[in-house]
């Protein structure tokens, strides 16, 4: 026997089978029961909500041997022929392909003739909004003088395209999208009857993506059961090509924690798992929408989620500020658009992640449109420059992340991180480590800038080695192999060697060798690089008490909000391990204010020169 898809097999045969359209079913049932039949009905509503199905049920009710009746028998020749689509008196017309005046004139001619089998001749015109104006005009004439034995049922997804003159002569029924509970209930019923092993969260996911269309929901269930014996949420996600909810929840966690490294790692994992990043952007935006709506008091938000996932949604609604969510939704949308043009499709996503998790997208103008002044040409120019800078930064960070993930399993993330400590926390830490001296805000910014520069150096470290090899500076490369960059002070890249590699350090640290390194690094980094070296012991002194940068923890959202509000209070948690401490040390402002990282960064960004230093005592 030929396979029949679920949605066809489970198409309602009785009015009582129709789900989620009680207002329609009740009125039509009463009309059939009382024999008060209108000569024209207009069924409007989104696709898959039951318009054509109810039209056929109405036809059955009218032409059943017991009819007009609200409960057609389903057994009589008329009912069975209608169910098979073979009834002479039920004419189904596709308005999209029979849209001209000639077709309507033909109908005007035909309606004069009495029905051949039943009591009524029923014309069901689907997609009626596709008719031409002339065709509507012809149709209107039939509606103005309808023969008593004719009933028209017009179905449309776009009621506003129906001329008011036609619509006002029809009894109109608005079909609504199915609510989650109704959709899940019906899907569960069908799954049980069909013996499909399906989990509740899978049903919830199906209902969510069916978006109120039961036909679509049954279609997804049909595909999923062909995919695996047990239909789980992961199976449904695979069928739909969507990102599993857990990943989206993790993204919300990343936002709440302001954890750039984790965010970038998530993007990388999604790519490695072959997930469509554009779909991820859409899913993440939808999820954040639910968080936003729930936070705004809309209890229906996320109604299709399981209890456990709903609890997570509620937690996110508590943790995430509405402004950040709005900003995130905009940034994700913008990233989606940018992906079409980006050379590397992941770049816009990573850029969005960085914008949203770092100093707060709003402060950085990440949401451009949202925060830019209305007249925005200048803002647009600023955005473009900002975008270019961010792209460059992302490129560097991406390489850094890859490098760290690959080799620098550089030891477990120091102390205090716990299981949620980002794997590449060493990257994140320097970038947000607070400065020791006043003013706190400037110090934080400086630390951020220094962290960026260090990240850039790390990102180009492999290139440096490769270039040394290519230029046959093999000896320099051999010495350099024992050291690694640990900080950037002003323009100076600090290369640290282990205590027992003093020979390598002193061998490398000659004017000629430094120049070789600087000549390679300058074009890569884009600033006037100087190279300095140090032994690990020298740098360790006095670094043990510096606070660590923000790491994901339950307090992280508060910290993020504080950061967003500009007080720079990002430090928390236990004392750092070696990496964090070193980074903090590197970022600490030197005694000479001219060498202060913030001053150096300001010079780099804005140009100009220092014409004097004025001290102000507190």
């Amino acid at each position: 026997m030929a396979y029949v898809s679920l949605y066809r097999k489970w198409r309602p045969r009785l009015f009582s089978d129709v789900v989620g359209q009680q207002h329609v079913v009740r009125t039509l049932s009463n009309a059939l029961g009382e024999g008060r039949i209108a000569h024209a009905y207009l069924f409007t509503g989104p696709r898959g909500t039951g318009k054509t199905t109810v039209a056929r049920l109405l036809a059955k009710g009218l032409n059943c041997v017991n009819g007009p009746t609200a409960e057609p028998c389903g057994q009589c020749p008329s009912c069975t022929r209608i169910a098979e689509g073979m009834a002479m008196d039920v004419v189904e017309i596709d308005g999209a392909s029979n849209r001209g005046i000639d077709e309507m004139r033909e109908i005007r001619e035909r309606v004069r003739y009495a029905p051949t089998e039943g009591k009524y001749k029923i014309y069901i015109i689907d997609e009626v909004h596709m008719l031409t104006n002339e065709a509507f005009n012809a149709l209107l004439k039939v509606l103005e003088e309808p023969p008593a034995h004719v009933v028209f049922v017009f179905a449309t997804t776009e009621p506003h395209k129906i001329p008011a003159t036609v619509a006002s002569r029809c009894q109109r029924f608005d079909f609504r999208r199915l609510g989650s509970a109704d959709a899940i209930g019906r899907l569960k019923h069908v799954a049980a009857a069909e013996g499909i092993d399906v989990t509740d969260d899978a049903l919830a996911l199906i209902a969510r993506y069916a978006d109120g269309s039961l036909r679509d929901g049954l279609g997804i269930l049909d595909q999923a059961r062909a995919y695996a014996d047990q239909v789980t949420a992961d199976v449904v996600a695979d069928v739909l090509g969507v990102v599993p909810l857990a990943q989206v929840q993790r993204f919300a966690d990343v936002l709440a924690a302001g954890d750039t490294a984790q965010g970038l790692a998530l993007v990388r994992e999604l790519q490695e798992a072959g997930r469509d990043l554009r779909q991820f952007l859409k899913d993440a935006a939808r999820y954040l929408r639910d968080v936003l709506l729930l936070g705004a008091g809309d209890e229906t938000a996320g109604a299709a989620l399981s209890e456990e996932d709903r609890a997570v949604l509620e937690r996110h609604a508590r943790e995430l500020e509405p402004d950040l969510i709005l900003e995130a939704i905009q940034a994700l949308g913008a990233a989606d658009g940018d992906m079409r043009w980006a050379v590397r499709s992941s770049l816009p996503v990573e850029m969005a992640v960085i914008r949203l998790t770092r100093a707060g997208g709003r402060a950085e103008g990440a949401d451009g449109a949202a925060t830019a002044p209305a007249g925005g040409a200048a803002a647009a120019g600023g955005d473009a420059a900002d975008t270019a800078a961010l792209l460059a930064r992302i490129e560097r960070l991406e390489q850094l992340v890859a490098q760290l993930a690959g080799g620098a399993a550089a030891g477990p993330a120091a102390s205090g991180g716990g299981p949620t400590e980002p794997r590449d926390a060493a990257v994140a830490k320097p970038s947000v480590a607070p400065a020791a001296g006043p003013p706190a805000q400037a110090g934080t910014e400086a630390a951020l800038a220094a962290g960026d520069r260090l990240a850039a150096v790390l990102a180009h470290w492999d290139t440096l080695h490769r270039t040394l090899r290519e230029r046959r500076h093999l000896e320099v490369q051999a010495f350099l192999r024992e050291g690694r960059p640990v900080a950037v002070r002003g323009d100076a890249v600090v290369i640290e060697f282990p205590p027992h590699r003093g020979f390598h350090r002193s061998s490398l640290d000659t004017e000629a060798n430094r120049r070789i390194l600087e000549d390679i690094l300058k074009p890569l980094l884009g600033w006037d690089v100087r190279v300095t070296t140090t032994l690990a012991g020298e740098e360790e002194a006095g670094t043990g008490t510096a606070p660590a940068a923000a790491a994901p923890s339950s307090a992280a959202p508060a910290a993020r909000r504080a950061r967003g509000s500009g007080d720079g209070a990002v430090s928390q948690g236990p004392a750092p391990g070696r990496e964090g401490g070193r980074a903090a040390q590197a970022a600490a402002p030197p005694d000479d204010p001219v060498q202060h990282p913030a001053v150096q960064e300001a010079l780099r960004v804005f140009g100009g020169k220092i014409i004097g230093v004025e001290r102000r005592d507190a």
Binding site: T44, P159, Q171, A285, R289
Partner: protein
């Protein structure tokens, strides 16, 4: 001199109508009902008769002239109805004048039109020769009573604000109101009909739907009632309303608010209505929103709408954009209302 529906009923009570009748006016429902009354009177009168319906925009004058110029073959009377007579070219109307102004006994001709151009020769002659029945739309103030009366005739017991709610949803077209009342009668099946039942079962008039609902939504947004605004938005989307239509109407609302911001503080409701181009009641509400938001707030709202427009056109999911827009505007306005 034209007659009313009551006059027509009185005339028909005296016997089947004869001669030329001109049914004019914007009230399609009343014209149709008058037509049916005449038809019934003619065809059900002793001896019976036949009926012919033609349309002014497609019938040849000769076809009408032949039908109107000869008596019935099957009975004592003949009824010729010409719908959309005003769509017939003036020259064709003139050609019919000799027949229409001198109908044979037993022939009734009914011409239906919204209006006739009284400057034209044919119109002048017809208005002079015919019994004219004019059906204008009820005045807005008369509508609630009209709805209540029609509901009673259908056995519908409207309660509380049900009539007002129905008019708000359906608009002022008697034909649309009657259709919805017939549906409500079936929905209620003898039970009293409350405003809530009307909202559940009645269909908002298509050209009117988004406008009305968006106005309500904009009000909820303006007063920081996020939940309600989201609920209305969801209803609109649930019935398949176009997101860009909704968005454009939200934008319109903010333009109205911005316009109201520029009007003098003590402007009368009539002056407000004139300036805004909307009726007085909504104009007053717009003025209140303008006071709460201020020009700056309204401009910001308009900018948010523009951003949402761009976001949709750039491919962001429209539903998501609209929902976030509503939350953003609502949050902004809640703050403004607090200040106000």
């Amino acid at each position: 001199m034209s007659g009313t529906m009551a006059d027509l009923k009185r005339m028909l009570a005296a016997g089947p109508p004869a001669g030329l009748h001109l049914l004019l006016g914007d009230d399609e429902l009343a014209r149709d009902e008058a037509c049916r009354l005449i038809e019934k009177a003619v065809l059900e009168a002793e001896g019976g008769g036949d009926r012919m319906v033609v349309y002014g925009d497609e019938a040849e004058p000769d076809e009408i002239a032949v039908a109107a110029g000869t008596g019935s073959l099957f009975g004592f009377r003949r009824l010729v109805m010409v719908r959309r007579f005003d769509a017939m070219p003036a020259a064709a109307q003139e050609r019919l004048l000799p027949v229409l102004t001198d109908l044979p006994a037993g022939v009734t001709v009914v011409l239906l039109a919204k209006s006739l151009d009284k400057r034209m020769k044919a119109a002048k002659a017809l208005l002079a020769a015919a019994r004219v029945w004019e059906f204008s739309l009820p005045q807005p103030a008369q509508l609630p009573a009209w709805v209540a009366q029609r509901a009673a005739e259908l056995g519908v017991r409207l309660q509380g604000d049900a009539a007002r709610t129905l008019i708000d949803m359906v608009g002022t077209s008697p034909l649309a109101l009657q259709t919805e009342l017939e549906k409500l009668a079936l929905y209620a099946a003898g039970r009293p009909v409350t405003a809530e039942a009307v909202r559940d079962a009645a269909s908002v008039a298509i050209p009117h739907a988004a406008e009305l609902a968006v106005f309500q939504m904009a009000e909820a947004v303006a007063e920081g009632r996020t939940k309600e605004a989201l609920s209305i938005l969801r209803d609109l989307l649930a019935v398949g309303e176009y997101p860009l239509v909704i968005l454009s109407l939200i934008g319109r609302q903010y333009r109205l608010i911005l316009t109201a911001c520029g009007l003098p503080a003590g402007a009368s409701p009539a002056a407000l209505a004139r300036a805004l181009g909307i009726p007085q009641a909504p104009a007053r509400r717009v003025a209140a929103q303008a006071r709460a938001l201020g020009a700056e707030g309204a401009a910001l709202g308009l900018r948010r709408v523009l951003e949402a427009d761009m976001a949709i056109k750039k491919g962001l999911e429209p539903r998501l954009v609209l929902e976030t827009l509503v939350v953003a505007l609502s949050a902004m306005n809640k703050h403004a209302m607090g200040k106000y």
